[in-house]
Amino acid sequence: MVPEQDVLTVSSIWARLEQYAQQHRHEHLADMFEADKERFQHFSQSDCGLLVDYSKQRLNTDILSLLVQLADERHLGHWIECLFSGQRVNCTEQRSAMHWRLREPSTTGASPEVHDQLDAMGAMVDRILTGQWRGSQGDVITDVVNVGVGGSELGPLMAAAALHSSMPATGKRPRLHFASSMDGSQISQILHDLDPRTTLVLVSSKSFTTIDTLHNANTARAWLARAFGGESEAMMRCHFIGISSNAARMTDWGIQPQNQLMFWEWTGGRYSLWSAIGMPIALTVGMDGFRDMLAGAHAMDEHFRSRRWAENIPVLLGLVDVWNINFLNITARAVLPYDGRLKHLPAYLEQLEMESNGKSVSRAGKPLEYNTCPVIWGEVGPNAQHAFFQLLHQGTLPVACEFLMTARRYTEQMHSASAKELEGQHRLSNANCLAQSRLLALGERALDPKVALPPYKRYRGNQPSTTLVLDELSPRTLGALLAMYEHKVFVQAVIWGINPFDQWGVEMGKLIATDMLDVLADPDSASGLDASSMALARHIVGSSL
């Protein structure tokens, strides 16, 4: 049974946490580090190739133990059981959320349908990597275009970039391209540069009704048909693979049965990179690498299910976020990877966290009286230093930061020639990461106290941060990292009493866009439109005449 959620703010623990927050609101991180020399030992954890240091967060052992009690009070253990036993934790859609099933090892004998689909994808991946997937004219496929949006793009795009230095064991990677934007700006450029004879298109959509995706796919289809002097069965068979939970719609669109890869209703779009949606990742690292990523995520699943809260990385991170948002009133979080390969991680997390927890009604349908998901944004750390770090250091808003770095890098064979210089760059980047988190936390107390600073040069510090260190960026550690974020989101949702697995807020916009198409076709026929929308529609139509 999925437990009922009561109202969070009547909790006595909640009240005591608020008290603590009042008492400690001016306490400075510099003082906390002075007071407790073992602060790192008290506030860090490591497992699954990750080290998580949250000692630069503005909390103490008392606060942490209250947060842990809060997790118990919110029945977190029971909720985790519900998640992992396939209960319908997505209450508004009456679905379970079993992304964890996608990474259960085949040796357990569980989820044979999952492994059937992985094997089917593996066969296609091997065929492409060995140069034996052929276009309709018999050419080797050299370019793969992923047509998908949201979860069908952000995860694969992020992970394929992150794992670029993990080469497949055998074969040659195709070049990957991603087309998502509705207006066709990506697909038009991609198709302009590619040769239809050597191009394979992956059409990824859970429902296979996403109009952004279907319009891009239709454009690609027309492009191929023009090149081959008309559409043929061979063209569809050789140039399109479909990935969806809806086989019938794939078939209707023209995806050949043997080219259909399935996933399931119980996998949310933003949790789907572990399924066949992750095919671009498998094309980057090879199928063995993809399975390593699943194994890393599974290790994190086991960690999440088995560790007590005080040692449980996703739980601790979730609780720290709750402390920052609900008690310290820090409503923004910056994600700052100091490894350029993680450049798409901020965008991925924006979706994972904000689409999951950007909610304001409880599971029972009551409006919430407290904040939920913060605003999340980010950028590759060293580049962000030249962009918005000014605000972090000297702005008026409190922002929680999340630093990510890799301990080992450029050890791969492919870098042998220039490894020395690149290792130097890696060390420089890590040094910057450590320097920034230190300065944000300690402020000018990290600097020489003898030097007096004018007001515009002062650093007040006390901006909290968490630092995540990956032993190295490999399929396995990336899998663990992403599963960690997924579970952290779930922990927060449990504390807040919300459903993280639906996204009703994005449905209505799609619907009224259909009406707006009619308005753009004939503005004079529109009625009941607000003055702004009406004027804009008229302006656009007028300009395109």
Binding site: R127, T130, Q132, R134, S136, Q137, G138, D139, V140, S232, E233, A234, R237, C238
Partner: protein, 427 residues
């Protein structure tokens, strides 16, 4: 004169045989156990017209002795040493030269092995450093598989790289029997001889890839490339050699040399733009028959059966390295197509290459191989394929589809015999 020849290459086999034949006392050192065993059993390493008989004759005469090379074993102290090991085996060359440098009779090392430009200079520097009085010359391997013996004994041109008069005199003396009708020596520096050898391969390969690109265009614009080729060949500025389009070049020689030339260019940070394209076009061209087969069946080829005539990279040799047939066989396997092959010489090599990776039926009879096939692919223009018994072939094939990778048939005639015909660049 006592001469040692090193290597398992065709060049080594021809050099050892020809030198023994003209009266020298030759020790032939092979480095590979398999090659050694073959020689011991009276076989040749390379099956070349006439060569096996000559080899056996020299061995019986006592002027040619086989030795198995090993770094630890004492080598025969020969006056001249010919180095014809596999291309690029620089460390092997170094160790052989170092070994001889310590022996009193050693006067001249001749490198035939094709290596990156500059290798011979480094070998010579090694000799100087060791205090040996021996000199080094380059006589690049110009062996043409299929007519190796003829090319060695009646050369159009012998490139000789040397930097010393004594070396020149000694090497020309050894080669004297083969230049009786005309002096075909071209003298140059060590480095120039190496470069000239690679550059000549580069030109030949470029001509072939150029013609293959023209063939592809010819199909599009509906003209016959054979007509175009004849028109080009009639122009004395162009000439007729290496103008035949087809399913790509292979073999250890031409493709290996072009790759080596590309490596040399890259090693000097000179961009190998043209040659990289030459190789890329060639790799793509090797699959031209596969693409025609695929298009014919609209990509529905699972369970089909293909007969391949000729797997050797050219007629007259048993070698299959880089042969277009290999690439196509791998593609056919990957698509679930059964493959039957006939080749008069290359089947054992092909079988070794396949190593059980896929279904491969080998036939000694070219018609039996064709039984129930959905297409015939011709890769090597062995003479016995030029005029097959059409009616019999028609009866064997399930689908009368002929894919001619060497344009050896007359399209009009073949079609009149009831076949579908597709050549390379032909209408």
């Amino acid at each position: 004169m006592q001469i040692s020849v090193y290597g398992d290459t065709l060049c080594a086999q021809v050099t050892a045989t020809a030198l023994a034949q003209t009266g020298h006392d030759v020790y032939w050192y092979v480095t590979d156990m398999g090659a050694w065993n073959a020689l011991e059993q009276g076989a040749a390493i390379y099956k070349e017209p006439g060569l096996r008989f000559l080899l056996e004759e020299q061995r019986r005469s006592g002027r040619l002795r086989y030795r198995l090379y090993s770094e630890s074993k004492r080598l025969n102290d020969s006056r001249v040493v010919f180095l014809a090991v596999q291309p690029g085996k620089v460390s092997l060359l170094e160790s052989i030269v170092a070994h001889h440098a310590a022996m009193p009779a050693f006067e001249l090392a001749v490198t035939q092995t094709v290596c990156a430009v500059g290798t011979s200079e480094r070998l010579r520097d090694g000799l100087v450093d060791s205090g040996s009085r021996a000199e080094l010359a380059v006589m690049p391997d110009m062996t043409q598989a299929g007519r190796a013996y003829d090319a060695f004994t009646r050369p159009d041109c012998i490139l000789i790289g040397h930097e010393n008069e004594e070396a020149r005199v000694l090497l020309c003396e050894i080669m004297r029997p083969y230049v009786r009708t005309r002096d075909t020596f071209r003298h140059m520096s060590l480095r120039e001889a190496e470069f000239a050898r690679l550059a000549s391969s580069g030109i030949l390969a470029t001509r072939i890839s150029f013609m293959n690109e023209m063939a592809q265009l010819a199909e599009r614009v509906d003209v016959d490339i054979s007509v175009i080729r004849e028109a080009l060949a009639a122009d004395s500025r162009i000439g007729s050699a290496y103008l035949y389009p087809g399913c790509g070049f292979g073999g250890p020689g031409l493709s290996g040399d072009v790759m080596s030339l590309v490596d040399t260019l890259q090693g000097y940070d000179a961009h190998a733009g043209l040659l990289e394209q030459v190789l890329a076009i060639n790799e793509r061209q090797k699959e031209v028959l596969f693409r025609k087969f695929w298009q014919y069946y609209g990509g529905n080829v699972v369970g089909k059966r293909v007969v391949i005539w000729g797997a050797a990279f050219k007629p007259g040799t048993h070698r299959v390295e880089n042969s277009p047939a290999l690439k196509v066989i791998e593609a056919l396997w990957a698509q679930g197509v059964q493959v039957a092959v006939h080749d008069p010489l290359a089947l054992p090599e092909l079988s070794r290459w396949a190593d059980g990776r896929g279904d491969l039926e080998l036939y000694k009879d070219q018609y039996m191989a064709a039984a129930d096939a959905d297409a015939l692919m011709l890769f090597t223009e062995w003479k016995q394929y030029w005029s097959p018994e059409w009616a019999r072939l028609r009866g064997e094939l399930r689908e009368p589809l002929i894919l001619d990778g060497r344009n050896i048939y007359d399209p009009v005639f073949v079609r009149s015999q009831g076949f579908q015909y597709k050549g390379v660049g032909r209408i």
